[in-house]
């Protein structure tokens, strides 16, 4: 695959914490550590510039969350946007959910390109006119104005999470969504903000007995009663909401038996699942743990059908990675539109793609130094030992502060968005 079109929209002051295309791929939203959401819109392809593929330009920017202080616990609540999820478009406006650690918000993003003029009771600046001065009546008319994109918060879903929200997922019924924190998952109706249903609760009666937390959750893309959630022990549970109100008993339990030859004190930590995603087809789920990406068939619970090594050369460095906390980094993973390719990030601004059919994989780098705009990305290679070839980089030279945790894939085309700290890279497939 060639990814020649590189557009970079840096240098944002803040670190990007989530990236998400909408259902058509026309819009791309990013959230950052400062609580801001930036939405990019794809240019319509013009007849004049046939060879210039639609590029993404900034469409709207708004402050979604502000820092808060929890007075009861004397703790700050970060404004960092943990996740953004789009709702399918049902009218001219766009809707998205954005969440920080505690509060989910529904935002409406709409365009305004006309403005009413000629009010009777107000003058052009909006000041009220003295009724005594009005002698004639006129009908206000809509006149064109410069396009303005407004974002307004339509719903605020607050006070339902004691622990930090790690996931939100819109249900296929488009009426409900779920939010998951470390120990609980709540089901919301978009119209109702003052209550939610608790559908999963793994908090033990005695917190001393806590050994496992929820790390990610997602609704099935087609079956509105089904969802999955992953845990810090490397397990995935599939639940059916029709079975009971509180889905504490799973319908299916996915876990791979441990490999005894690879056992170490870090085994559990590296098995902790940082992301879980249904395939577009709904037949598979993909999970990301520290060193691998796994694809599971929903019909087979005892082991994944595919396992891909993301950066196995880190296995011998786990002690150092534990020391500098990198071992707790939560990488996400994504499917392409046809579920044939999966992508995930790594360190040194590297990201990896795995073709499920050909079993080929590639390592690419998102960095301005190493690629000129519109140049084809060169595959990278990490040298694990012995002689290092000219273009290879050795494990010890990897920059662990440059991590690609968040990536997104256009729903139908080969366009990917890669967040590298505070830079966003968008790569497109070359047109032949």
């Amino acid at each position: 695959m060639n990814y020649p079109d590189e557009s970079t929209y840096g240098n944002k002051a803040d670190i990007i914490s989530t990236v998400e295309f909408n259902h058509t791929g026309e819009l791309l939203a990013t959230g950052d550590k400062g609580g801001r959401v930036v939405i990019f819109q794809r240019e319509q392809e013009s007849k004049n510039q046939v060879h210039r593929r639609g590029e993404y330009n900034v469409y709207s920017t708004f402050q979604s969350h502000e820092p808060e202080f929890d007075y009861l616990k004397s703790l700050e609540i970060e404004e960092k946007i943990n996740k953004i999820r789009w709702l399918p478009q049902q009218n001219a406006a766009y809707f998205l959910l954005s969440t920080n650690d505690k509060t989910v918000k529904l935002w409406k993003v709409s365009e305004r390109d006309k403005r009413p003029e000629g009010y009777n009771l107000k003058d052009e600046e909006g000041r009220l006119r003295d009724p005594a001065t009005i002698t004639t009546l006129r009908v206000p008319v809509l006149r064109p104005m410069d396009l303005m994109v407004e974002a307004t918060p339509r719903r605020v879903f607050a006070n339902a999470h004691t622990y930090h929200i790690n996931s939100i997922s819109v249900n296929s019924d488009y009426e409900t969504y779920m939010s998951a924190d470390d120990l609980r998952i709540n089901l919301w109706n978009f119209e109702i903000t003052n209550q939610s249903f608790n559908i999963v609760d793994i908090k033990p009666a005695n917190m001393e007995e806590l050994t496992e937390v929820i790390t990610a959750a997602e609704f099935h893309p087609h079956h509105c009663n089904t969802f999955v959630y992953s845990s810090s022990k490397g397990t995935i549970r599939l639940c059916d909401m029709r079975a009971s109100a509180l889905c504490d008993r799973h319908t299916k339990f996915f876990e791979e038996p441990e490999d005894p030859s690879n056992r170490s004190f870090f085994s559990e930590i590296i098995s902790s699942i940082s992301d879980v995603k249904f395939s577009h087809s709904g037949r598979y789920i993909m999970t990301r743990d520290y060193l691998t990406v796994k694809v599971w068939d929903l019909n087979m619970e005892n082991r994944p059908i595919e396992t891909y090594q993301v950066h196995d050369y880190l296995r011998s460095k786990l002690c150092s990675l534990y020391e500098n906390d990198c071992i707790f980094d939560k990488f996400e993973c994504v499917w392409n539109g046809s579920d044939s390719v999966i992508m995930t990030g790594s360190y040194n601004n590297f990201f990896r793609m795995f073709d499920r059919n050909t079993k080929r994989d590639v390592t690419l780098e998102a960095s301005r130094e190493n690629s000129k705009p519109r140049a084809i990305l060169k595959p990278r290679k990490v040298c694990v030992g012995g002689k290092r070839r000219k273009d290879e980089i050795s494990v010890d030279s990897l920059d662990f502060s440059k991590k690609i945790l968040h990536t997104a894939w256009h729903p139908s085309e080969n366009i990917i968005a890669v967040a590298a700290t505070n830079n966003l890279y968008i790569f497109q497939d070359k047109v032949n």
Binding site: S74, N206, S316
Partner: protein
């Protein structure tokens, strides 16, 4: 039966990879590596609490790691092995660690306000903050430290365990930042509670075994605390060892 199939970390694995390595590295023993991992983990747990709520997933994973190490150390009897090596230690070192462990209780007794210790902790090896605090420690109060320690406090604090780390997320007394940190100290600086809390409190095993290690110079104030103090002392020796 202790399973020796556990993989060693870091340097050992690099040696296994064969080929010419960058020189010969002195490989620390497995137990030393394990010990340093334990110390590192405990420091990480202590540093979990800042102004922002700690990451629960990270805390749970670290706590589970501590549990694993402690279980393994209990199984292969390493708990009992630290004492002989520490005879040559300067009493000051032992004292320093004790200060850290007993900081909360001594603060309450008004003995030694360890100023800004919590803030000053850096993510470095355990020996680093041992050095920092040694300057503050007076002459030879080892005996007095044990005597000063309120047995009630010790027992009470032993009841708290990793639970505190998680419970503080829910029920936190509102108050100043100082209060915040001092509240945490009793769980984080009390190394013993962290370790013993991991194993069910009902288990007498490790405690019983450690009774014999209580230093002869410090008769425990009450028999009910004997095992606790002996354990604490032993844990101190482990800390100091690294």
């Amino acid at each position: 039966m202790f399973a020796r199939g556990l993989k060693r970390k870091c340097a050992d694995h690099e040696e296994d990879m064969g080929g010419a390595l960058a020189g010969f590295k002195a490989v620390p023993s497995y137990s030393l590596q394990r010990q340093s991992l334990l110390d590192m983990s405990l420091v990480k747990l202590q540093l979990c609490h800042m102004l922002v709520e700690p990451n629960l997933c990270r805390s749970v994973l670290i706590a589970n790691t501590v549990r694993q190490i402690q279980e393994e150390m209990t199984q292969d009897g390493t708990w009992r092995m630290a004492a002989p090596q520490s005879t040559g230690r300067a009493p000051l070192d032992r004292l320093v660690s004790t200060e850290i462990l007993c900081r909360s209780t001594r603060e309450q007794d008004g003995v030694c306000p360890a100023s800004g210790m919590g803030d000053g902790l850096a993510l470095g090896p355990v020996s680093e903050f041992s050095t920092v605090t040694s300057a503050q420690t007076p002459g030879n109060p080892q005996n007095s430290v044990w005597e000063m320690d309120s047995p009630r406090e010790n027992r009470g604090s032993f009841q708290k365990s990793l639970d505190q780390i998680f419970e503080t997320l829910e029920t936190r007394n509102p108050g100043s930042t100082d209060e915040l940190f001092s509240d945490m100290d009793s769980s984080y600086y009390d190394l013993d509670t962290v370790l013993t809390g991991v194993v069910s409190r009902a288990e007498p095993g490790p405690c019983d075994g450690l009774q014999g290690l209580a230093p002869a110079a410090t008769p425990p104030p009450s028999s009910s605390c004997k095992s606790d103090l002996g354990e604490l002392d032993h844990v101190v020796e482990i800390l100091v060892e690294t």
